[in-house]
Amino acid sequence: MSEETLTLMTWLIPAGPLLVFFIITLFTNRNRTLSWTLAWAGVIASLVLSWTVVANMVGLDVHELAHHPVQYASSIDWLPFGPCPPQEGGNCTLWLDMGVAVDALTAIMLFMVPLAVFMIFVYSVGYHNYGQPRGMIKGVPNHGQEDPLFSRFFALMSLFAGAMLVLVVADNLLLLFVGWEIMGFCSYALIGFWYARDYHLQPGDIPHIPPRQAARKAFMTTRIADVVMLLGIVLFYRSFGTLNFNEAFTLHGFEHAIAGIGLGGIALMPLLLFTGTVGKSAQWPLHAWLPDAMEGPTPVSATIHAAAMVSAGIYMLLRIFPLVAVSLENNPEVGWIIAGIGAFTALMAATIAVAQNDVKGVLAYSTISQLGFMIAAIGVGGYIAAAFHLITHAFFKALLFLSSGSVIHGMEHGAMHVHDHHTDPQDMRYMGGLRHKMPVTFWAFLIGGMALSGLPFITAGFWSKDEIFAHAYHEFTHGNPLGLVVLVMLGLAAFLTAFYTTRQLAMTFAGKPRTPLAEHAHESNKFMTVPLVILAFFAIVLGWLGIPDHFLGQDLGQINFVHHFVLTTIEEPMIELHEAGLTPIDVHEEITWSWVPLITSLVVALGGIGAGWLVYGRKPLQKEQPDPLIRAFGPLHTFLNRKWYWDELYHVLFYRPTVWFSETFASEWVDKGVVDGTLHAIANIVYAIGRYCKRFEEVVISGGVDKIKDGFLYFARESRLLQSGRIQEYVLYSGLIAVALAFMMLFVSIYGGMEWLRGLF
């Protein structure tokens, strides 16, 4: 296919879902069948276009690709931004361009996003009980019935997918930000999809906040990050003179920027932009929104956690990787901050996940933890390791979420069967023995769980995590102590990951049903199980594309497809920058084979799975039996179960002061107290003067003037515009005084008389 065709196709990738959003919203929202068919059509169109583009990219020679990393790019003038700089003549208009570009990094995202989204769309049709009797109450889950807002769901999901695709194909930071923020809106609308839902919690239940609050929390938390990121974007634009990644990230671009704002300014930029990632990818300290985002329907959770949203944060950080790399040369603390936050979040979230009982809650914290892995990897320069883990994680996490949704669906079915509307169908303590009730779901969950745990050699999660460990270890052996910190913390996190995943699998599927809900659960419909099978396939085989070239010290040739392919994105500019002494990272440096990271991977994965099996799998929990960890850890378990109390802390530290500052300080004290108080005082003085003048007038001047005044009042009364006597005098006198004063000033200025008045100036 010609390059023009492929470029045009790239433009059209996000178009389908975006168009479908408008079509469903405006026209077909009453027809459910048509709505979901259209949504499928939109995303299938994206899938076909994306994969065509990807197939063409993959077909290219990697060396050639390295010379021309950007293949299908074009842009259009979007916003005029003043005149051209003098060196270009100065007579034309300077434009901010909007465009698309496909390089290897984009390509792997284009492989993953539409596929994952399509699977989720297929699943959603079943999840919302298409074809069942229609539910009657809008804005709450109607168990076992078709959702009354079925069409709205697909419209918003299409917009979500379209926004993610815009972000992926964007060739500049601003268009990326557009997709980024629209996704923020979609997540808000979809987390709060059941906007009318309220919980009536009993003691001992898993604490839930209503979806509408969760939605607001998600939007506001990410917005904290986004406003900082916006500063980063404009600083980027001002320093590089462009927002286009490929124009900015050249030797020339960096020299220009360094000349403008200096090395310190360059180091500030990745931190400002990284703040955006911290919010979007739910890293500490802005991680608290993601677990609550579970209040949305499960397909939404899967979209947020796998295909879009949180992946966007990592993707953006990968996009600006040369910026991070250049900062590291003079400001290694940038690396410490990024890797530190990533590694800390990975470990913290893993500890929390160990003590959660909500089947989706565990997964939510596992996402936070896994994203921490990727960010830690980027902090130590592991560009490819992070990209690889991003893709594998997206597949197995989508799989896990959809499986857990299937479990919940099955439990809800059980709940309806036994007419129990109080037991939380998401609480793993009430599950057990689902393996035989839901075999497809069980196998899917098992594959996803093992990929997440990093079960050696088979699963994708193993290979991508191993690459992160290998990179961290490599950094450490080359004199960067940060590598060791990352290796140790991520190793611990990986151990916990394997442990809590095994715990989750055991609590859900092993043993005997612990409640009538689990007793009467049954397998979900085909719409839901088929996507599980497809995703499970990718959760395994994708890892094989990233087996190290020198695995086990053997020379296996160039089998690490992911490495060689993704590297082309930044290879040339990074080499150029490295040779110019602007970055310490040399992308051509071979990562020497070592047993240390491999053994780490093996030990933590197998150790974690084994420990989990010993505690939860060997003797599955019995009915009413408390979690063995509660006895073992006591208050520490409570601390973890309550998520380190971050929510409570933020509530006291930020939310309450903000409300006080807004409602009491800004509105009452400042506006009504100080500002209006001053105004009223001035008004009272003027009023007093007016009264004095009135008395003066009554005593001294009477008769004729009175008549004029009466005339005024008569007019006023007649026109009924001024009804209150006091106010009317008020207006009259103030107006008269104002006019008199004005004329006096005019008189003064014209005739220059009244020397005494002039002294006033």
Binding site: P85, V228, L230, V234, Y237, L679, M745
Partner: protein, 518 residues
């Protein structure tokens, strides 16, 4: 045809006033006739402005100076002429005014009390606003400035809510107080230079320096400073810039729906327009020196406006405070313009920054006009049905009014500055322009941008979300009427189209702004 094209600007400005006079002749009780006629009349200037737009685009784009100029003898004794004209900054304001007036009139079809007087006042106000935007003479400018106050005062005073007396009075007196200094300064400028013609004053007044002014006997410098401060205060009250803003929430809360639409949509822009058209070009030195103060107050408007909006429980007050928050960005852009325009050094990067910031400020004026008018209208729609604006009393409205709910969310998102919609583009432009000049104040104002999200979500959440309260079940089936759709859709279409493709309007602004800075 020649006559028509020469006089099109006068036709645009005075047609509404003539229409108001015609309406006046219709009997009071023919309310429907009055309404429809008023709507049809108000569409005429819109059509004319579109014609002007196309003509401008074809013949005047990129040329320095003003288009459609018209000058006539008026007060030769004082050296004042009737001088009007438009440039790329005026054109968007013309479009905004002529677009919002018919929509406001359409939104007011349900006014039963003295409907004729109401429509007449709206049309008179349109003339005042258009005249002000086109004025190229200081005295004419001032007359239109004062002229616009009166109809709005009566609109609030007669058709307002419970506390309308206090609010209308505060609005009137506060603005008048600002005008006082403005009038005086205009007189001094006129006397010192012998002309009130704005394009001439850009030269004469600016280059007047040293010595004492003959007529007032004060040093030129002092007079310039005093006049500058008087100008700034007059326009700062109108924008309004924090802390001159407290008239605004009161006026908005009490004004009828359409009054709020015009007040937020156009009248606030008069202040910002005054800064761009008069203050900065006529007082470049003073503006340069005090630009950082303006930036600080812009920042305070953004931040304090945002917080105060979040603190409101009256939906209309919340939207009113959002205007202060949004106009803060206009002020920030103007501050950058002020800093660079009057700077003695020619730093190319600064000029680039200033062009972007000024473009952004003007575009933000237009965008805020759309979104604020739409927000006030929607608050009016729900108020008509629920008879309350108390956010604590709402809850679950989305279920009973699904279309209204979705439109409210769309409009709120435009107001919030969601990328893809118009507000984001202009905010981005201002932020981009300010980062190099006022990085600290800009960074602080990000706090206000954060609060924008907070109060918008508060508004949506409190009205639409949650289980439907029993008292609102009766609203079922009372979703938006065709007339209400006709009001909101043009605004929504513009919000989306400007968000996706802003250049059809920004190129106009950019051409003129580039010329200003060259």
């Amino acid at each position: 045809m020649e006559f028509f094209s020469d006089n099109i600007i006068n036709l645009v400005i005075f047609f509404p006033a003539i229409a108001a006079f015609v309406l006046f002749l219709i009997p009071d009780d023919a309310k429907n006739t009055v309404r429809r006629l008023a709507l049809v009349f108000s569409l005429v200037p819109l059509v004319l402005v579109i014609a002007m737009w196309l003509d401008y685009n074809a013949n005047f784009r990129g040329l320095p100076g003003f288009a459609f100029e018209y000058q006539a003898e008026w007060l030769p004794l004082l050296g004042s002429t009737y001088h009007v004209g438009v440039d790329g900054i005026t054109m968007p304001m013309f479009l905004l005014t002529t677009l919002l007036t018919p929509l406001a009139i359409l939104a007011s079809f349900n006014i039963e009390d003295r409907a004729k007087l109401y429509m007449v006042l709206f049309l008179i106000m349109e003339t005042a606003m258009l005249g002000l935007f086109a004025s190229l003479d200081l005295l004419i400018f001032f007359i239109f400035w004062e002229f616009g106050l009166v109809p709005m005062y009566f609109l609030i005073r007669i058709w307002g809510s419970a506390d309308r007396v206090y609010a209308s009075f505060k609005f009137m007196i506060y603005t008048m107080a600002g005008s006082l200094g403005l009038l005086l300064s205009i007189q001094i400028i006129g006397l010192a230079t012998g002309t009130y013609d704005i394009p001439q004053l850009y030269d004469l007044w600016v280059n007047l320096s040293g010595g004492t002014l003959p007529v007032v006997g004060l040093s030129t410098d002092t007079v310039k400073w005093v006049a500058y401060i008087a100008f700034v205060i007059a326009f700062a009250i109108k924008v309004p810039i924090w802390p001159f803003h407290t008239w605004l929430p009161d006026a908005h809360t009490q004004a009828p729906t359409a009054g709020s639409m015009i007040l937020a949509g156009v009248l606030l822009k008069l202040g910002a327009y005054g800064f761009i058209r008069l203050v900065i070009p006529m007082f470049p030195e003073q503006a340069h020196i005090t630009a950082y103060i303006l930036a600080i107050f812009g920042m305070l408007s953004i931040v304090m406006g945002g917080y105060a909006a979040f603190g409101q429980w009256d939906f209309k007050r919340l939207v009113a405070y959002s205007s202060i928050n949004h106009m803060g960005f206009v002020v920030m852009g103007i501050a950058v313009m002020a800093f660079v325009y009057g700077s003695a050094y020619n730093v190319p990067e600064w000029t680039g920054d200033a062009i972007m910031a000024t473009n952004g400020a003007v575009f933000q004026m237009f965008n805020h006009g759309l979104s604020a008018a739409a927000m006030f209208f929607l608050v009016g729609v729900i108020y008509e049905r629920a008879h309350t604006r108390d956010l604590k009393k709402f809850g679950g409205i989305w279920t009973v009014l699904p279309v209204f709910g979705s439109i409210l969310i769309f409009t709120s998102m435009a107001s919030l500055g969601l990328p893809g919609l118009n507000g984001f583009v202009s905010e981005f432009m201002v932020v981009r322009g300010s980062i190099g000049i006022f990085p600290l104040y800009l960074a602080l104002s990000m706090l206000g941008l954060l609060m924008t999200g907070a109060y918008i979500l508060k508004g949506i959440g409190a009205t639409l979300h949650g289980p439907t309260k029993p008292e609102w079940q009766s609203l079922k089936g009372q979703d938006m009427t065709l007339r209400e759709h006709l009001v909101i859709w043009p605004l929504m279409i513009l919000m989306l189209s400007l968000g996706l493709w802003p250049q059809w309007i920004v190129t106009f602004i950019n051409d003129t702004v580039v010329w200003l800075f060259s």
